[in-house]
Structures are given as structure tokens and as C-alpha cells.
């Protein structure tokens, strides 16, 4: 590193970001329930998301029980099975991953990491959570509605989503659509906050290129979500009109249950375009925060500056931009023009370039690093491996000729569970173990954490590796029972049993995680303010957990980037972003 001359302290110009007047709660309810403090809102988001995620986890057991031991459990009939897969998918993608990464980590980390006292619009931020909770409640209500929740598959393709014969088409589908509309409204409120806080709320000295990659990831993902969710919004309104008022946006003329329906001329393909215009960016809405967080976990626990910071930022931005021109690779089998497919296959493969850059940079950050194999690091490493695995099968599926035979097989299920199921969840776990000390002031149990990691990591491979094979045999997804099909070899049934047992074990490991998460609140050993000896601002607060307003009297001033680990000549192996000189004396050797 080159020595840099620093100006005198007196040279600091007046604050570009004036300190804000904070809203102070007046009662217990305003402090803990209808809180406007982003940290409380984050915890509310996280608890709600984890709670509804637990429902989705149980649904996945039921799905696996049916696939592993068909016919054994009489209550999982075809209707129930479709309802389970639909709700499992939708909850995991939208209500857990999106809400937890952006609403949970976004709310907690953005103000702290950029050096702000709170989000820029705390009231709107509070509304965002309550609207999200309402969306979750409406979704849960569909379980108790006559006819049950919708069984249309998480993609909700018309015409079957709203046609007679599909489970939950009486009311479940309406509740699902309304719940999504509410979710999008709530998310937009939160998303405005995240974006504007990053743009306008940064502390003095926090240039964009000094932001931790976590903030870059969450910021870019929020921009994507703000632009992509309207596609889902439009599609849902049109489908609701088709369902309730009998319009024909998506519904073609069909004979249903022996009767000609009143619909005519609608285009199911139009829905697919709108859905995937949202659906593909959604993959990156989940992946980009994971990319960002994992970068910080790796740098911190390998005690090394992130390799190629600029490249990492550019890659995040490039992935964000490209994610809007790949949507039709989900539609290769929809009968589109082959040239159209060629275009989307090309853009899909191009997006692999910035993604690969990120993977190389993570690995190069580890190279000759001082790797601490604690729980957050283990999960970060687990993420890299799993993401590479899932990404590689994505290269298969991105090519039209390979995708066509594999379309709607278990291979696709295995692919997307690896790349946007297991991989982001690994990061969520790693991030929870990493930031738990800041949130509660106590460490989570390392022993239980490592147990949780190894069972989850190995278990996930025990579940999804066989599914790739099963998919390559041509076993279709979304089948309640395979029956006797000549093309399915007998070992598929055995493998399915194995996968089911593995899934149950992995599910059990999550109970250990929950136990650790809850009991560590009072049993964990006190962590102090900066247990990982990390550089970013959230670890430099005066109090742990940070009090209302995050910083004491004065806002922090930022003097350096977020990755000054193991700087030669420095007194410690990390230099916090708000520390002016590398050594306490201000002279650098």
C-alpha cells in the first residue's frame, strides 16, 4: 500500500448531511410495537419472516413425505399436495427470503453501516412492516378459507390458476393475489426508504466506494425490486379482474368441466412475460444481498481486504442491469420464436461473467488469508460452494437445447433450490450468527452453530444432489405420484426415500438453530461491542445493542473504506472506518 498524506483535522468542511431530529417514542407501545426505529422494525420483519418460513419448512416435509413414501399418508392427497408445493414456494421466495434480506437485514444494517441515525422516513418504514404483516396474515388466512389455499404452483400460471379443478380456486387464489398486492405496496414503502437512505443518509466521508458490499448488495437489490415488482402487480390485478369480473386478459376460450367458459381470446403467454419480468430479477433480489453480505463475512473472518472491491461493485451493478433482459429463459418451452430464445440464452450466459468474477474474488480473498473457521465463516464458505454448484446447472438450463428436455423436471427443482434456496439461506444463517452479537449483545453458541452448519450443509447436498440425477432420468416435477412409468428406473423410489429422510434431518437441525437463537438471548456469553474485530461502522457504536439514534452525541465521520484488515504497520489487524489514522499516533510506517 502506498502511503497517503492526510490533511489536517481542521480541514473538515461543514456536514453535508445535517444531523436529523429524531422521533422519540412516548410510550411502551410506540417503543416496542409501533416502533419507528429501523432496528426494531428489522427485528419485527425477521421474526415474522422466520415464523412464516417455519410454516413453509413444515410444508416441505409434507411434500417430501409424499414423494418418498407415496400413499402412506392419506391426508396428503393430490389437492393438498399442490397446495403444499404452492405455498412452500411462494412463502420461501417472497415472504421469507425477500422480506428477510431487505426488510430484515436492510433495515438493521443500512442505517448503521452508512452511519445514519435511522431511515430517512421512519413513519413510512413502520407502515411498511405492518403492511407486510397484513400480507402475511391474508396469506395465512387462505389456509382456513373454504377450499384451502391455492394449488396453482408458485408461478400461478393461468388459465389453470383460476380455473375449476385447481385446488383453492374458490377463494384461496384470490387471497393469494390480494396478499401479494399488499406485500408489494408494503415493500415499496420500505424500498423507498432503503434507496433514499443510502443516497441521502450517508455519514460524512462515506463515499459510495467506501460503502461495505452488504450495503451495495441490498441497495441494488432494492432498486431491482422497485422496478420489477410492478410487473407482478400488473399481472395480479389483471388476473384478479379475470377471476372476479370475467375479463379475458389471460384467459383463453376453454372448455372447463365440459362447459365453455365465458372467457375468450386471452393470452396465458402474456402472463408468463409479466410474471418472469418480475420473476427473474427476483432471483437477484435474493442473490445480490447474499453476495454483499457474504463478501463482508469473508473479509472479516479471513482478516483480509476484499479482493477487487471495485470489480465487486461493478459486478453487482452489472448483474442488476442484466437481470432485466433474461426473463424469457424461463419460457423456452412456451412456443416463442427461436431467435428470441437465442437472444435470451446469450444474455443468460453473459450474466455468468460478472457472477463468476464475484466467485473468483471471494476465493482470492480467502487466498493466504487468516481464515477463522467459525460459524459465520463456515456458512459463507458453504454459500460459495453451493452457489457455484447451482450456478453451473444454471448454465445447462440457460441453453435452449438443453433446457427443452430438462424443462419441468426435478433437475430444475434441484437447480433453483441450490442457487436461490440453499445458497441464500446459508448467507442468512451466516449473517444471523455474525450480527447476533450486535443485535443482542451476546454470542450464539458456537458448538450448536457448527452442528447446525454441518447438518444443514451436508444434508442439503444429500437432498439436492440426488434430485439432479432423478431429474436427468426425466422424472417430472409437480407430480403427486409417479405411478408405474416405464422410463423411471426403480432406484428413483429408493433415492426419493433417502432424500425424504435427509430432508427431515435437515429440518430437525433448524430446530437446533431456533433453540440456539432463542436461548442465546440470555444464555449466550456477553460479546462486547465488536467481537469479530470488524471495521464497518455498525460495530463501532457506543452501545451494544445500539440505542435509539444509533450514535451518541455525534454522527460518525468516515476516513477509510470498509476493508482495512491486516494493514501492514497498523497497531491492530483491523482499522475501523471511523478511525482517522492507522496507528493511534497518527503516523504510519
Amino acid at each position: 500500500m502506498v502511503d497517503v498524506t492526510r490533511g489536517a483535522l481542521e480541514g473538515i468542511p461543514a456536514a453535508e448531511v445535517p444531523d436529523v431530529e429524531l422521533y422519540h417514542p412516548h410510550s411502551w407501545i410506540e417503543k416496542y410495537v409501533f416502533s419507528q426505529d429501523a432496528k426494531y422494525i428489522a427485528i419485527q420483519y425477521a421474526i415474522t419472516a422466520l415464523a412464516i418460513g417455519l410454516v413453509a419448512l413444515v410444508l416441505s416435509w409434507l411434500i417430501r413425505l409424499q414423494l418418498g413414501f407415496p400413499g402412506t399418508f392419506s391426508f396428503i392427497d393430490a389437492h393438498a399436495y399442490y397446495q403444499f408445493i404452492t405455498m412452500h414456494g411462494m412463502i420461501m421466495v417472497i415472504y421469507l427470503l425477500t422480506a428477510l434480506f431487505l426488510g430484515g437485514f436492510g433495515n438493521y444494517l443500512i442505517p448503521l453501516m452508512v452511519g445514519a441515525r435511522d431511515m430517512v422516513f421512519p413513519f413510512v418504514n413502520m407502515l411498511s412492516y405492518w403492511v407486510y404483516l397484513l400480507a402475511v396474515l391474508v396469506l395465512v388466512a387462505s389456509f382456513f378459507f373454504p377450499g384451502g389455499p391455492t394449488g396453482a404452483g408458485w408461478t400461478l400460471y393461468p388459465p389453470q390458476a383460476i380455473s375449476a379443478g385447481t385446488p383453492g380456486q374458490e377463494g384461496g387464489i384470490i387471497l393469494m393475489l390480494v396478499s401479494l398486492l399488499i406485500f408489494i405496496v408494503g415493500f415499496t414503502m420500505g424500498g423507498l426508504n432503503y434507496v433514499v437512505t443510502v443516497l441521502q443518509g450517508r455519514a460524512r466521508g462515506m463515499t459510495l466506494m467506501r460503502l461495505p458490499l452488504t450495503v451495495w448488495g441490498i441497495f441494488t437489490a432494492t432498486v431491482l425490486a422497485l422496478l420489477a415488482f410492478p410487473a407482478l402487480f400488473v399481472a395480479i390485478i389483471m388476473m384478479l379482474l379475470d377471476k372476479i369480473l370475467g375479463t379475458s386478459f389471460f384467459m383463453p376460450a376453454i372448455v372447463s368441466m365440459g362447459e365453455q367458459t365465458a372467457h375468450r381470446g386471452g393470452s396465458p403467454i402474456l402472463f408468463q412475460h409479466l410474471f418472469w419480468f418480475f420473476g427473474h430479477p427476483e432471483v437477484y433480489i435474493v442473490a445480490l444481498p447474499a453476495f454483499g453480505i457474504v463478501s463482508d463475512l469473508i473479509a472479516t473472518h479471513a482478516r483480509r481486504n476484499i479482493f477487487g472491491y471495485r470489480m465487486m461493485v461493478w459486478a453487482i451493478v452489472a448483474i442488476g442491469g442484466l437481470s432485466f433482459v433474461v426473463w424469457a429463459h424461463h419460457m423456452y418451452v412456451s412456443g416463442m420464436n427461436p431467435y428470441f430464445g437465442f437472444f435470451f440464452a446469450t444474455t443468460t450466459l453473459i450474466i455468468a461473467v460478472p457472477t463468476a468474477i464475484k466467485v473468483y474474488n471471494w476465493v482470492l480473498t480467502l487466498w493466504r488469508g487468516n481464515i477463522h473457521l467459525n460459524t459465520p465463516m463456515l456458512f459463507a464458505l458453504g454459500f460459495i460452494i453451493t452457489f457455484v454448484n447451482g450456478g453451473l446447472s444454471g448454465l445447462f438450463l440457460g441453453n435452449v437445447v438443453v433446457d427443452v428436455p430438462l424443462s419441468d423436471t426435478m433437475f430444475v427443482v434441484a437447480h433453483f433450490h441450490m442457487v436461490m434456496g440453499i445458497a441464500p439461506i446459508m448467507v442468512i444463517f451466516g449473517a444471523i450468527y455474525h450480527w447476533y452479537p450486535k443485535i443482542t449483545g451476546r454470542m450464539m453458541s458456537e458448538l450448536l452453530g457448527k452442528f447446525h452448519f454441518w447438518v444443514t450443509f451436508l444434508g442439503a447436498y444429500a437432498i439436492f444432489f440426488p434430485l439432479h440425477y432423478i431429474g436427468l432420468q426425466g422424472v417430472p416435477r409437480r407430480y403427486h405420484e409417479l405411478g408405474d412409468a416405464a422410463f423411471i428406473p426403480p432406484n428413483v423410489a429408493t433415492l426419493n426415500q433417502f432424500v425424504t429422510v435427509a430432508a427431515l434431518i435437515v429440518g430437525f437441525a433448524q430446530m437446533v438453530f431456533l433453540y440456539n437463537l432463542i436461548t442465546s438471548i440470555w444464555r449466550g456469553k456477553p460479546s462486547g461491542g465488536n467481537p469479530w474485530r470488524a471495521t464497518t461502522l455498525e460495530w463501532q457504536t457506543e452501545e451494544t445493542p445500539p440505542s435509539h439514534g444509533n450514535w451518541g452525541k455525534d454522527l460518525p465521520v468516515v476516513y477509510r473504506w470498509a476493508y482495512d484488515y491486516s494493514v501492514p504497520g497498523a497497531k491492530e489487524d483491523f482499522i475501523p472506518q471511523n478511525q482517522m489514522s492507522a496507528t493511534e499516533t497518527g503516523v504510519r510506517s
Partner: protein, 234 residues
């Protein structure tokens, strides 16, 4: 979808242009020290609320861009029977344009610090805005009376959908206008009023632009563009 892709491209271009000003080529690992030595430290020189409004405009723009995409795609199907647009729609367009003009006037009056002019123009804007919404409802009434119900033909469905969604967003604009008026009358604070008037004006100009595009859509002025978009897709 080309219409949406164009819109998203424009948004990304704006973001990209802005990012380029932020010295993305900086080498942060070498830049250590006092603020002020390096550019791009601070936030955008706009009020927070204004930045938020522009972000919101991008979101709403994306919503209408996608609606327009869907409109063009559906339009190409053989069962599409274009609506005969009621003349009233021209009148409504005029009312919405006048709202914008009145708010522009209000903004000028704020600059001149003439509170009475501001108030008068806000009232005028509110009047034209309400006229627009009422006029749109009347158009719906006329169409319904003529037998064009929402499910009659996809062209009708889309007409009700786009005008309905636009109308909802205009209602939001009216709420913002009421808020601004409240600032002018009851909770008067010159700086905040100035910002409120400006933000209302920007939002209503945006609503006018969206409406002009939707208007060209439902009156068939944009048919050729739709044909081009469809040909790109098929």
C-alpha cells in the same frame, strides 16, 4: 415487453449516468483521510423528499410501462376491437393539462413569495384535478351505457384498467395537493410550503405525461409503435 425494456433501460441509464459522477473508478483502498480531499463524499444536493419522489416516479413509471407493454401485446390478437373513444376524453385531457399549468403557476408564485397567488393557484389546480377525475368517471359511465362493459372486449378491459390505475394515482396526487393546501392555510411554513408545492407540481406533471401516453394508446395514435413492439417479440 419492448416498451418496458425501453423504460427500464432509461432508468438504468439515469442510474448509470449518476453512478459515473460518483467516481466508481476510485481506488478506495488508497484513499484514506479527511473528507473534502475526495469528491463524491456527500449525498445528492436535493431534499430527501424530492429524491424519494423521483424514485417513486421510477416505480410508477415501471408500472405503467408494463401496462403499456401488455396493451401492445394483447392488441395484436384478432379479437381486439378498438373502442370508439368518447369525446369527453379530450376535455379531460385539457383539464389535467390545466392542473399542471396551475401548479406551475403556483410554483412561480412561491418563488415570488406571493402567498395569495399560491393559494389561488392551488385551488385552481384542485378544481381542475377533481374535474379530471369526475370527467374520467363520466367517460366510464358513457362507455357502460353504450354497452362497453369491462369484460365486453379486451380493448374495453384494457381501457378500464389503464384509466382506473391512472385515476387511482391521480387521486393520490389530489391527496398530496390537499396536504400542500393545508400547508398554505393552516400550518404555514414558507420553506416547507415551497417544497410541497414543487413536489406536487412534479408529480402532477408526471401524471400528465403518463396520461398523454395512455391517451395516445387508447385513441389509437400509438398503434404503429405497438406493431413494431409486437414484431420484435414474435
Amino acid at each position: 415487453m419492448p416498451a418496458s425494456v425501453i423504460f427500464v433501460t432509461v432508468v438504468i441509464a439515469v442510474i448509470g449516468w449518476w453512478l459515473l459522477q460518483q467516481r466508481l473508478t476510485a481506488k478506495p483502498w488508497l484513499e484514506e483521510g479527511v473528507i473534502g480531499e475526495f469528491d463524491g463524499t456527500g449525498s445528492i444536493a436535493l431534499p430527501v423528499a424530492k429524491v424519494a419522489l423521483w424514485v417513486l416516479i421510477a416505480v410508477i413509471g415501471s408500472l405503467f410501462g408494463l401496462l403499456i407493454s401488455a396493451y401492445f401485446m394483447r392488441m395484436g390478437y384478432p379479437d381486439w376491437r378498438p373502442i370508439i373513444v368518447p369525446r369527453m376524453l379530450w376535455f379531460n385531457t385539457g383539464a389535467l393539462a390545466l392542473t399542471s399549468v396551475a401548479l406551475y403557476g403556483a410554483q412561480r408564485a412561491v418563488d415570488r413569495r406571493q402567498l395569495n397567488d399560491v393559494k389561488a393557484r392551488l385551488v385552481l389546480a384542485g378544481f381542475f384535478g377533481v374535474t379530471f377525475v369526475a370527467g374520467q368517471l363520466w367517460v366510464w359511465h358513457e362507455l357502460t351505457a353504450a354497452g362497453n362493459l369491462i369484460a365486453t372486449n379486451p380493448a374495453d378491459s384494457f381501457f378500464y384498467l389503464v384509466t382506473g390505475l391512472h385515476g387511482l394515482h391521480v387521486l393520490g396526487g389530489l391527496i398530496a395537493l390537499a396536504w400542500t393546501a393545508d400547508r398554505a392555510w393552516r400550518r404555514f411554513a414558507p420553506d416547507k410550503l415551497r417544497l410541497n408545492v414543487e413536489l406536487s407540481a412534479i408529480y402532477w406533471h408526471f401524471m400528465l405525461v403518463v396520461w398523454l401516453i395512455l391517451f395516445s394508446l387508447v385513441t389509437g395514435l400509438a398503434d404503429d409503435f405497438g406493431t413494431i413492439c409486437r414484431q420484435l417479440l414474435t
